[in-house]
Amino acid sequence: MKEEEVTMGSARKQWYMVSLVGKDQSGIVARVTEVLYQAGGVLGESSMMRLGCNFSIMMMVEIAGGGEQLRQSIAPVTTELGLHLHVDAIEPGLHQHQVPELRVVVHGADRPGIVAQVTGVLAEAGFDIMDLDSQVGGSSLEPIYILLIEGVANSGVETIHQALEPLSASVEFRVEEIDTLIG
């Protein structure tokens, strides 16, 4: 390899998935994104969720210098905020969003195994999950489970509906088409 190629190689930008988990407190996103920006990082897609009282975020970050350097530049802030930090090299895969075609909404009294059963059935029916969001609502004495799933399936609504039917004794569910208007 020629020398300039080596130099270019070390300066080449690479995409990473930065995951943070910890106790929620105000200002986390602002602090973390500022330190990433100062370090020369470029944000791709990101998703922040509060699950229970926990903060979690996953961010695509493009940066030169390698994963270890990225980790070291954010670590002072994440340590101060008490966040667990995880960094993985990834393929960006931007600009190739799929449009979800079906939505499955499931709810019922909370019990172990709901998500495993529903997603197991969906996987078997050829349903490819693109987005899943589940929450525990209701009271602490009578918790209810709400599961929202969007994705694509080669089979239609009826097939997915039939596949979920055996679970209808313990959960309510609805399967519907998502019509996307492109105008």
Binding site: H97, R103, L148, G183
Partner: protein
């Protein structure tokens, strides 16, 4: 013709009303319609999407189907809408939209379920219309373009749970 894509600022500008209903208008309308039909989806287009800053849009859901069962979508065929004005809005519904001018992004938007509107055709004649459901959504999307609004300006959270609250 070529689709302008956001962040092109022309897509954020107000369009001028059409005043001359002449041969050159009809020529433009027919080119715009042919162009719309050549695009994937191809059920609606607004003049500013091709850089023509006039209050002209076209909607045609003929042949559009939904789901694997290919159910047709209720519609009233080819609508050439010049200087359209929506006058009544009824009910609201959350639905997913994308736009030829906003590639690789779709999101949830609340629209009226039923609308009443008036528009002039390419021969200069004014008509009154009513529409509902998916066609009404398409018309609201296209008329928005004439006012410099994109579906991005009406995005709501992907976690909004309005899906089943269709008003009848």
């Amino acid at each position: 013709m070529e689709i302008l894509t956001y962040p092109n600022q022309q897509l954020k500008q107000n369009c001028e009303p059409v005043e001359q209903f002449d041969e050159s208008l009809r020529q433009f309308v027919s080119e715009l319609e042919a162009f719309m039909r050549s695009q994937p989806g191809g059920i609606g287009i607004a003049a500013p999407q091709v850089g023509q800053m006039q209050r002209i849009c076209i909607v045609d859901l003929t042949g559009m189907t939904r789901g694997k069962k290919k159910k047709p979508v209720p519609n009233q065929g080819r609508l050439i809408l010049i200087n359209p004005e929506i006058t009544e809005w009824e009910g609201f519904e959350l639905g997913r939209e994308g736009c030829m001018s906003v590639p690789d992004y779709t999101g949830n938007v609340i629209r009226a379920t039923q609308i009443a509107f008036s528009a002039t055709d390419e021969w200069g004649e004014r008509h009154e219309y009513e529409s509902e459901g998916f066609e009404a959504r398409a018309i609201q999307h296209e008329v928005d373009h004439l006012e410099g609004l994109l579906f991005l300006d009406r995005l709501v959270s992907r976690r909004t749970d309005l899906f089943q609250r269709k008003q009848r």
